[in-house]
Symmetry: C2
Subunit: 129 residues, 2 copies
DNA sequence: AAGTTTATACGAAACATTTCGTAAGTCAAA
DNA sequence: TTTGACTTACGAAATGTTTCGTATAAACTT
């Protein structure tokens, strides 16, 4: 199927995307086993979700074998960027900086992580010269 | 009505919250006028949404006059923090730092903004000592 | 080969969200 | 006082999401 525009995944769909990104191509069984560790979910529910995600173009699948193997259709970082843009727009009126400040202010980041961010900022500022 | 737990606002609801945060307490008419500038939406649609938001506890209202006046039930920053936590969990597997890096990497922030963030980081690092 | 387990497909119920039509009341102007 | 504009309340259609039961076929076990 062809898709002019990929829709934003729902929360449930994103949960499954996470599994596919973390573990690579996987069967319904595999996805459902991992999903079941976190919450109560039936096998056919997971199957149906993956089928819908396939129709939406969120995942691809290999159905040469009886057990189909699903795979994320997008890189995690690309999807994150899209979700981030959307989130900044709706929750922070488009201000990524405000969002960053809020995230740093209340999430306890380690010193190493803070240093990493600081280094990125300095690199960005250098690029600006 | 009493509420044990306030649900996450939907996208449409958040759009209305933004208006209430930006302009303060407002009538359905006022909200709908602003909303209509961006997209096509009927008056009773906006009314219904505000009524539902009232039932959910997202807004309060003053109904002493015929024209009810609605008001956000939460500070914008509090809501942003809640949405942010949720977003980081679902989209970045809990890593606020990764999210920040991605936001800074792809959003063009001004030098002044970058400096502001750097200052915050240095303050946080000082607090860590 | 017969029975058990495992797979997909599909329909539909249950639930949530979005949208709006219609009814009924209030208010102000003609 | 009648008319018209404006208001809230409410029901319900339209759409999207989540869940699972059932049917059917394939593969494995004994």
């Amino acid at each position: 199927m062809s898709h002019s525009q990929i829709p934003r995944p729902t929360d449930s769909e994103l949960e499954i995307m996470q599994i596919l990104w973390q573990h690579g191509p996987a069967s319904v069984r595999f996805v459902n086993d991992l999903l079941s560790e976190k919450r109560d979910v039936g096998y056919t529910t997971t199957l149906k979700l993956l089928q819908i995600m396939y129709e939406k173009g969120l995942v691809t699948r290999d159905d040469t074998n009886r057990t189909h193997v699903y795979q994320a259709a997008f890189k995690e970082s690309d999807m994150q960027q899209r979700l981030l843009d959307q989130f900044v727009d709706t929750a922070f009126r488009g201000s990524a900086v405000k969002m960053v400040m809020q995230a740093l202010g209340n999430h306890r980041a380690s010193r190493a992580e803070l240093d990493e961010i600081k280094a990125l900022i300095e690199k960005l500022e250098k690029d600006k010269e």
